[in-house]
């Protein structure tokens, strides 16, 4: 929903701010100029409990010296967000991006080191606010099984329809290769689940979307991690897996690079043996292939034409890296 000026005016009134100008930077996000500086106003669909969780953690992290997070502004009535009939809104100081993060040399190690700091500081918090629940190993296994079934179905349907769907044809051609690695991952996860049954995993504040578009290099080279709205308390492996799955393929799942990144993370938050095992399991599953298949499956037939080439490229790229991914995951188990 488009935020008109009058809505912004009334929202900002709750922060004792007067609106001078407003610019929509992307959907549901506005850069607002006020009498007291520039801010980011965001409309969110998150539940109030989750927003309170995020707000509390950001405030805590910041107070503990983590200056890479941007706490929510608090209204003059003490609220970290504004609930209106039209939705939930949060306000944060605006961070002007001075440089794209991917241009910063060794940006990956810098990010992982900072993520390690956040995880470590969150372990020490006395209060554990309640937000989204951690994802259980059983839920992960079920999701993997569901992805496998979906890809098998795509392959079967391609066989039946005699190839009007080119993506389906391509999946059918490589489905055995996918299944080999995917089923191996499921077996490893099942074993790990049994081994970890009586050993509760450490919970830290996980961002959940460690992606370079959620990172900003600001003035003076200061580094910020943004968009914590989907954060939860979970094993630190969750954030690491998300990061490796996205950025390790770009360097061909280089084991040397991966070890360097992990070492940077462990400077701040060393992993236990169990956590390494779990990270290895997570990375064994060809998640990027499952993701593109899910996207294909969830897109209505008539809308597929525009994206099919991109899906095919993504599929091919990650399929070719399956062995390297597998080797990487096995290597990461050892320190």
């Amino acid at each position: 929903m488009e935020l008109v000026e009058w809505q912004a005016k009334h929202l900002l009134h709750d922060y004792d701010l007067r609106l001078y100008g407003i610019d929509e930077t992307e959907k549901n996000r506005w850069r607002v100029e006020t009498d007291n500086g520039i801010f980011l106003l965001e409309k969110t669909d998150e539940h109030p409990t989750q927003l309170y969780f995020v707000a509390s953690w950001l405030h805590y992290l910041y107070s503990q010296g983590i200056k890479s997070v941007v706490p929510f502004c608090v209204t003059k009535y003490g609220e970290p967000y504004i609930a209106t009939r039209y939705g939930m809104y949060v306000l944060q100081p605006w961070i002007e991006e001075t440089e794209a993060i991917w241009r910063v040399p060794e940006w990956e190690t810098r990010v992982l080191r900072e993520v390690g700091r956040i995880h470590q500081v969150s372990i020490r918090a006395q209060v554990r606010w309640q937000g989204y629940a951690p994802v259980s190993l059983e839920q992960i296994r079920q999701r993997w099984e569901s992805s496998i079934a979906q890809i098998v179905l795509i392959a079967e349907m391609a066989g039946q329809h005699h190839g009007t769907e080119v993506f389906g044809k391509m999946v059918k051609k490589n489905v055995e290769q996918f299944l080999h690695f995917a089923q191996y991952a499921v077996r490893e996860l099942t074993d790990a689940t049994a081994r970890l049954e009586r050993r509760p995993l450490m919970r830290v504040l996980c961002h959940g979307r460690i992606h370079r578009r959620n990172m900003i290099i600001g003035a003076g080279g200061a580094f910020y991690i943004t968009r914590f709205e989907r954060a939860n308390l979970d094993t630190p492996v969750r954030d690491l897996a998300i990061f490796f799955r996205r950025y390790a393929p770009r360097c061909g799942w280089s084991i040397r690079r991966g070890r360097k990144w992990l070492a940077a993370y462990e400077e701040e938050n060393p992993l236990t043996e169990e956590e390494r095992l779990l990270l290895s399991c997570y990375l064994l599953f060809p998640e990027r292939l499952a993701h593109v298949a899910r996207t294909y499956w969830n897109t209505a037939g008539e809308d597929r034409g525009q994206s099919v080439q991109q899906w095919m490229q993504t599929w091919q790229k990650h399929l070719q890296l399956l062995s390297e991914m597998h080797q990487f995951a096995l290597a990461i188990k050892q320190k």
Binding site: H10, H13, Y77
Partner: protein
């Protein structure tokens, strides 16, 4: 700096802004800060501030954010208390006397007020502990007042009969006595004497609703006198009727009904309030000679006539009630 100002400044130091000046104006105390002018609310009774705070935050939780609320200080407190009383700060709006004069805003204003008053009443529907502090009063109607109304009317009627003049007044006073009887019956049916009726404002001015484009804000209503519920409803209906006749009254009532249904005892109390010829009796009070101030007496009858029209609207608005009690 006088003692009061010094005490206020000490309390205000806990707020997250710079206090430039504390001063007393015609309408109360204000703090000039680097974040604008704030109203200072002082109340001797902390429970009343708590009562006031609760309905304001309730409105916010229902999605109506545009209400004058108490700011938080650095410790997250909405007010500060000491031996002298409690202090709070608010961002306020000046009372708005303009919107009710603008045709294009009147109906929307009445609708908004109807919904808001219903929400405020809803806020206290499930509150077990009723406020019992110094700001609580008995209200317009009670057994004592009703009985004394009879005695007073009886005395006036006797006097008129003895003078054998003002027959027009004699006739109308017999109708007034009927209304008192009717109000008494309704009051008894309401159970108003049981002292457990939820409280609300003794008076609510239309100007408490402020129009700041294009949103409606509730301002003021601090340190109110609290009485059994619906005297606020009556005062609002009277003000609305003055401006917009029954059309405005119905708009308000429909909006109220869209949020809250009135239980039977409350309905009886509301009807009792409207039935009770307060304007007439007030007009007659304290007059040494009835022949004097004839205009004042006529004005009282005129006002009661307006009340009767409001009463009719309220009676006919079936959707307002939990049960159709006829």
């Amino acid at each position: 700096m006088n003692l009061q100002e010094e005490r206020l400044r000490n309390h205000l130091d806990g707020y997250p802004f710079t206090i430039r000046e504390v001063r007393h104006e015609e309408n109360g105390w204000y703090a000039l800060t680097d974040r604008g002018k704030k109203r200072i609310i002082y109340c001797q009774d902390e429970n009343l501030i708590r009562w006031s705070h609760s309905w304001r935050e309730y409105l916010v939780n229902q999605g109506f954010r545009h209400v004058e609320r108490y700011l938080v200080n650095g410790q997250g407190e909405h007010w500060i208390s000491d031996l002298a009383g409690s202090y709070a700060l608010s961002d306020y709006w000046e009372q708005d006397y303009d919107w009710s004069k603008r045709n294009e805003l009147q109906m929307k204003g009445y609708q908004t007020f109807g919904e808001l008053l219903a929400h405020i009443h809803l806020c206290f529907d499930n509150v077990e502990e009723v406020y019992r502090g110094r700001y609580r009063k008995k209200g317009t109607l009670n057994e004592t007042r009703l009985k004394s109304s009879y005695r007073y009317l009886h005395a006036i009627i006797k006097e008129i009969e003895s003078r054998q003049s003002d027959n027009w007044l004699l006739y109308n006073l017999s109708r007034v006595a009927e209304r008192v009887r009717k109000a008494e019956a309704l009051y008894e049916a309401s159970g108003g004497e049981n002292d457990r009726t939820p409280l609300s404002f003794a008076h609510m001015p239309l100007s408490s609703l402020v129009y700041w484009e294009p949103c409606w804000y509730i301002t003021g209503l601090h340190n109110p006198v609290l009485v059994p519920r619906h005297e606020d409803t009556v005062t609002l209906l009277e003000q609305i009727y003055e401006i917009s006749d029954t059309e405005g009254v119905n708009q308000f009532l429909s909006a109220y009904a869209s949020v809250r249904r009135i239980p039977v005892p409350e309905k009886n109390y509301l009807l009792a309030l409207l039935c009770y010829p307060l304007p007439v009796l007030s007009g007659l009070e304290g007059l040494p000679q009835l022949s004097e101030e004839r205009e004042r007496i006529i004005a009282g009858f005129h006002l009661q006539g307006q009340r009767e029209k409001i009463l009719r609207c309220v009676t006919e608005m079936r959707v307002l009630y939990e049960e159709d009690s006829g």
